[in-house]
Symmetry: C2
Subunit: 146 residues, 2 copies
DNA sequence: GTAACTGCAAAATATTTGCATCCTT
DNA sequence: AAGGATGCAAATATTTTGCAGTTAC
């Protein structure tokens, strides 16, 4: 007699994908795991040349877009051209991102972090303007580099 | 006897270029004038297909980069891929941008504005982090569209 | 089995570089 | 006249699209 196991292993990655009605595929699992394995944000290039893995460029584009659409990850605005993605930890849903935390770009190690504990401040806009979303990106030196 | 005139006409565009030790060329004047002529931000594409003008693509790239380097314009961080530029109205200098205003992206007309009167709020960072610059981008509906 | 996902090829876009020519100072 | 700026050609890089084969459910 062998030990009973549930037939669905509740890996975090799997459940995240299932929760969003996405097929659980090897590629998606690996890419999502990359986000979970580190605290920062990842660019398309980071993922494509990820250690040991060899992801097809197109699959990475499509996977990232799918994750953004589903509210699993979000893009981070940066003054330079680069597009970076980070896990959504707030209550994002399909078509609606609600990231109320700020983003921090370290000028030393060049990593990007979501500071989940720092809430975006209220902005007092001039008459006539109304805000849907406020994005804050702070540049400076991160905890690891200071 | 004729009225005395200075031999350097103080056109805004000319003086801006001279102040930054740049040769005053037709292309630079026209591109800089585009920024002065409207309140929003411009993308590379906006400039290239600017009404009536036909700018060489490469010249636009080089001119924008030159202006950024000199602190005449600055890039605006956006969550989507697009790169947009706006005039620096603060005290920017070569190699150091100091834009303390916020940026506003209208979800209706899709224009980007610098709200010069809205100062970026102070952000209280967690211990260990230090800030060099704070970028705020607000998305919503602008005055003209509301 | 069927719909969804992936990988390859290739198209479409965007950006950079080299160099000869032209313009500003 | 000399150095910088421009325009063209072409090299690179980035992103999108189509389609046939594969995989998840």
């Amino acid at each position: 007699m062998h030990k009973q196991t549930t037939h669905h292993h509740i890996h975090t990655v799997d459940s995240l994908l299932k929760k969003n009605q996405l097929s659980v595929t090897a590629g998606r699992k690996k890419i999502l795991q990359l986000f979970l394995d580190q605290p920062g944000a990842l660019s398309h290039g980071d993922i494509e040349k990820s250690a040991g893995e060899k992801f097809d460029r197109v699959t990475v584009y499509r996977t990232l877009q799918t994750f953004v659409d589903k509210g699993i990850i979000h893009t981070i605005p940066t003054a330079d051209n680069s597009v970076r993605y980070a896990l959504c930890k707030d209550d994002c849903s399909e078509g609606h991102h609600h990231d109320h935390h700020i983003h921090f770009v370290c000028n030393h190690c060049h990593q990007t972090f979501c500071l989940d504990d720092v809430v975006t401040p209220a902005i007092k806009l001039p008459r006539g303007y109304s805000a849907d979303q406020v994005e804050v990106v702070v540049e400076g030196i991160c905890r690891n580099c200071s």
